[in-house]
């Protein structure tokens, strides 16, 4: 299981939890499980999310490996200037 | 030719306003007359102790004229504040006046100097004080067919000086939010014997503020006199709120600039006296 930190405004869709546990070994599996377990997250996931794994931000990479002990933080997908 | 043209006409000297109006579609003249090659319009000519400045003389040329600078430094610094170096190569004092902007940088200095405009009209030449030319934003008292051919800056007594200051948010490339020009003459004792104070961008047209002049005539421009000058200037303001400034800002800063300009004019008058 991986503990994923969810940002504040998404907690409405995770029963108020700021940290949810899902079974996932990659970014893609994590997104699929989150959408499945918490359907309210799906619109945001479709719009785009980034993932910080142990402090490094990944914007899209599905196959980014996630270890159970990794710090995993969901973030909005970012665009810059 | 100008009088005969039924449509909108524009007279081009430097073109720095006319070209912008044409491009923005604000003016679509049927006739543009480029007058800058007419004889006499590009010359600065000494006359009766003063200078006659042709209508097509660009600001940069005025700035390079040592005699003119020495006699009317405030007028020249007003002209030199019109636009960038590039604009200075083109823009003229006469064009700045005829464009009719209440914020025109050349005009307060000319009014303080009591300069006189020579106009060639359908009925011949005539002279008119600068103060009588502006009629409101974008408007002048000139008739269709009138062409300003020159502006005359008179001779001045010993111990005279003038100065022009404007406020802009940037150090350059800006339109005056408020401006002030002061021309004065000192007596041998250092007291002001004559003064003219003009304000820009605080009313539909340039203001000649007699109360401000009276506030300093007879004084040595001590702090009280300068404060009275500033107060008289602020009292005379009838500005508007717009994107460039507020009523309160213009009213307050008009007094500040007039006070500072008066001090500079006094210093110049002293050195003019020393030189003479």
């Amino acid at each position: 299981m991986v503990a994923v930190v969810i940002w504040g405004s998404l907690r409405r869709f995770t029963d108020g939890k700021g940290r949810v546990e899902v079974e996932a070994r990659t970014f893609k599996e994590l997104l699929d499980r989150l959408s499945q377990d918490y359907p309210g997250l799906a619109p945001q996931i479709t719009r785009g999310v980034s993932l910080a794994v142990d402090g490094l931000i990944y914007r899209e990479a599905w196959f980014t490996a996630i270890n159970p002990e990794s710090e995993v933080v969901l973030m909005p997908y970012m665009t810059g200037g | 030719m100008l009088a005969a043209e039924p449509g909108v006409t524009r007279i081009l000297t430097g073109g720095t306003d006319v070209m912008v109006q044409m491009r923005a579609g604000l003016a679509a003249p049927a006739l543009v007359v480029d007058v800058k090659h007419l004889t006499g319009l590009r010359a600065i000519t000494p006359e009766a102790g003063g200078y006659r400045i042709g209508a097509a003389v660009p600001g940069a040329v005025m700035g390079e004229h040592a005699g003119l600078r020495a006699l009317w430094p405030g007028v020249v610094e007003g002209v030199e504040l019109i636009g960038s170096t590039q604009v200075q190569g083109r823009a003229t004092m006469a064009g700045n006046l005829c464009n009719g902007s209440p914020a025109a940088d050349a005009v307060p200095g000319l009014v303080a100097a009591d300069a006189v405009v020579r106009i060639m009209g359908v009925d011949g030449a005539r002279d008119c004080p600068v103060i009588d030319i502006p009629a409101g934003p974008g408007r002048t008292t000139l008739a269709k067919g009138d062409i300003v051919t020159s502006i005359f800056l008179p001779a001045r007594p010993a111990r005279s000086g003038d100065a022009y200051l404007r406020f802009t948010p940037r150090s350059e490339m800006d339109i005056a939010v408020v401006s002030a020009a002061v021309s004065l003459t000192l007596g041998a004792d250092g007291a002001v014997t004559a003064a003219r104070v003009a304000l820009g961008a605080v009313a539909p047209t340039v203001l000649l503020v007699d109360e401000a002049a009276q506030a300093i005539i007879g004084t040595r421009l001590d702090d009280a006199a300068l404060a009275a000058l500033a107060a008289a200037c602020s009292a005379a303001c009838r500005p508007i709120d717009d994107k460039r400034g507020t009523v309160a800002f213009r009213t307050q800063v008009a007094g500040v600039l007039a006070r500072r300009a008066a001090s500079i004019a006094r210093d110049r008058a002293h050195s003019a006296g020393d030189a003479a």
Binding site: - | L12, G14, G15, T16, M19, V20, M22, R23, A24, V32, D34, P58, A60, G83, S84, T85, Q86, V87, G89, R90, S171, E172, M173
Partner: protein
Amino acid sequence: MKTIQVSTTINGDATEFLCGPDESLLDVLRNRLGLTGVKEGCGTGDCGACSVTLDGRLVCSCLVLGAEAEGAQIGTVEGLAQGDRLHPLQQSFIDHAALQCGICTPGILVAAKALLDRNPDPTDTELRYWLAGNLCRCTGYDKIIHAVQAAARTMRETADAQG
């Protein structure tokens, strides 16, 4: 509208062109003569990207009518280099990284040359006020000022060596 025939000299070369009576010198240079080194940033004389010299005076070509070029000497950025030898200002801008996007560079080079032709040893303040009509959004002007001063030094040294 009737076109006007104009005979002029551009970067030392005699040139003739036809233009509309309301057409700017900037449009003539870019669209009729292919001198696209002259840039348009605003069309209102507020950015300086279209700077050229007209009979030795620095002007915004967007504020000059094409017809006014009759009999005049026009100088543009294309005339700065002598063959493949860059003008010291051009070389200095490359050496001092004084350009990023480069769109303002032609106008600034023409303007800086016009200053150094008059005043070979300007102060930083004189230079900053002279160039106030040339907007640059990339550099913050710092490296432009350094590059012009370095070029001015080079040009003074060359003049001394020759003089």
